[in-house]
């Protein structure tokens, strides 16, 4: 029973330490596409047309903020899972051994 627990806890650790941070990195990279202001591109001084620069930039900013928050949420989840795994591996020697083996396999 403890062996199974250790393997499962090792997977929790793997999710928190490896997989979710990778997803966080993906979002961090995705953010680059919405990191640059669009105001300079779209504004004009003459009043010709309808100046949509601020609206465009507002949409860009909302996407950027959402990506930032989503990235932080997934990283926080990862941290919480690592903490949980670390605490559980202390509760049972056999589970701890299995956990360490699972970690070694993952690393």
């Amino acid at each position: 029973m403890s062996e199974a627990l250790g393997v499962e806890v090792g997977r929790v650790w793997r999710a928190g330490a490896k997989k979710l941070p990778e997803v966080g990195d993906t979002l961090e990279t995705a953010k680059r596409g919405v990191s640059t202001s669009l105001v300079d591109l779209l504004s004009r001084s003459s009043g010709v047309g309808t100046d949509v620069s601020s609206r465009f930039d507002e949409l860009r900013g909302l996407i950027s903020r959402a990506l930032e928050d989503s990235e932080q949420a997934i990283r926080d989840c990862g941290t919480a899972l690592v903490w949980a795994a670390e605490d559980y591996e202390l509760t049972d020697q056999a589970a701890r051994d299995a956990y360490e083996r699972e970690k070694q396999r993952i690393d």
Binding site: M1, S2, A4, L5, E8, V9, R11, V12, R14, A15, K19, L20, E22, V23, T26, L27, T29, A30, K31, R32, G33, V34, T36, L38, L41, R44, S45, S46, G47, V48, G49, T50, D51, V52, R55, F56, E58, L59, L62, I63, R65, A66, L67, D69, S70, Q72, A73, I74, D76, C77, T79, A80, L81, W83, A84, D87, Y88, T91, D92, A95
Partner: protein, 304 residues
């Protein structure tokens, strides 16, 4: 691709051509307008500058893509711009994390949250697609507008030439074809929506059909003719300024349509922020020292 700077050069040449002509009559009230007719377009959005932004947005879409997608735009060769799903995002799921036996409140909460989180990412993907689509529409509008203005300027120049030579050549009427005046923002293109939950974002491409360069937006039949008198510089200038005003009106109408799309989407996102961007799950707010005691966390299968 015509740039605002090109128009500044062109209006300078128009002024020079007027100044070098031999005009017996038909003088404009304000001939300096030949040299300032395009001043309103001196710092308008430059179509050549949009590519870096739309390329960056395509990269963002590729990273967020929940499914394969078609942007509804084309590249410089006219080929459709498409992308694949990013399977890295599948790691945020029961299968992706490979946890079979973790059960209980925390586990349920986490996996339920992860599905909502992915829906939020899909909404963000759709929003990025919308932003890219509307930027393409802006590029298309300005591409057509600046081309129209260049054509107007060149035809005004030819009309001045004809007016100057009238008794020698018998030059006739000059007619030009304007694209942006004929049709500004055409009908819909669907924005890729895999997994998105916000319906407005799903349908938001309606109202704009654009290509990467904007060059093929205005198909044949979506144009309007503009004739130039060749009798005297006064009438040439009047026709030129009339054409410029028509382009200005068309650009305003087009950007009004784009603004309406932006407003709709901004309101949708503002009104549904938690669906657009999931707040973190309760699990993440548990203090480090209390994580092991967090309700439900201790029910891994076989471990309790």
């Amino acid at each position: 691709m015509v740039t605002p700077a090109d128009l500044m050069d062109l209006q300078g040449r128009l002024m020079d051509r007027y100044n070098s002509g031999s005009w017996g009559s038909g003088f404009p009230d304000d001939p300096s307008q030949f040299g300032s007719c395009f001043n309103n377009f001196a710092d308008v959005p430059d179509p050549s500058q949009f590519g870096q932004h739309t390329d960056a947005l395509l990269e963002t879409m590729t990273l967020l893509a929940p499914t394969g997608f078609d942007t509804g735009t084309s590249d410089g060769s006219g080929n459709p711009v498409t992308g694949n799903a990013n399977t890295a995002l599948d790691q945020v799921s029961t299968a992706g994390i490979e946890l079979d036996d973790w059960t209980g409140q925390a586990a349920d909460g986490f996996f339920q949250w992860s599905q909502s989180w992915k829906t939020g990412i899909s909404n963000q993907f759709a929003a990025a697609a919308v932003l890219r689509q509307l930027l393409h529409a802006e590029a298309a509008v300005w591409t057509a507008a600046l081309e129209d203005l260049e054509k107007l300027g060149n035809d005004a120049y030819a009309a001045l030439e004809a007016a100057d030579d009238e008794f020698d050549t018998g030059a006739g009427e000059i007619s030009t074809t304007l694209k942006v005046v004929g049709a500004v923002v055409a009908v819909a293109a669907a924005v890729p929506t895999g997994g998105a939950s916000l319906s407005i974002l799903a349908a938001v491409g309606a109202g704009v059909t654009v290509a990467s360069t904007g060059m093929d937006v205005y198909a044949a039949g979506q144009t309007e003719s503009k004739k130039f008198a060749t009798c005297c510089p006064r009438d040439v200038l009047a026709d030129l300024m009339d054409g410029v005003r028509r382009v200005e009106d068309a650009v305003r109408d087009a950007e009004d349509a784009i603004r309406a799309q932006l407003d709709t989407n901004l309101a949708e996102i503002d009104g549904n922020w938690d669906e657009f961007c999931q707040p973190p799950p309760t699990l993440t707010s548990v203090h480090r020292n209390h994580i092991a005691a967090y309700s439900g966390l201790g029910t891994w299968g076989g471990g309790s």
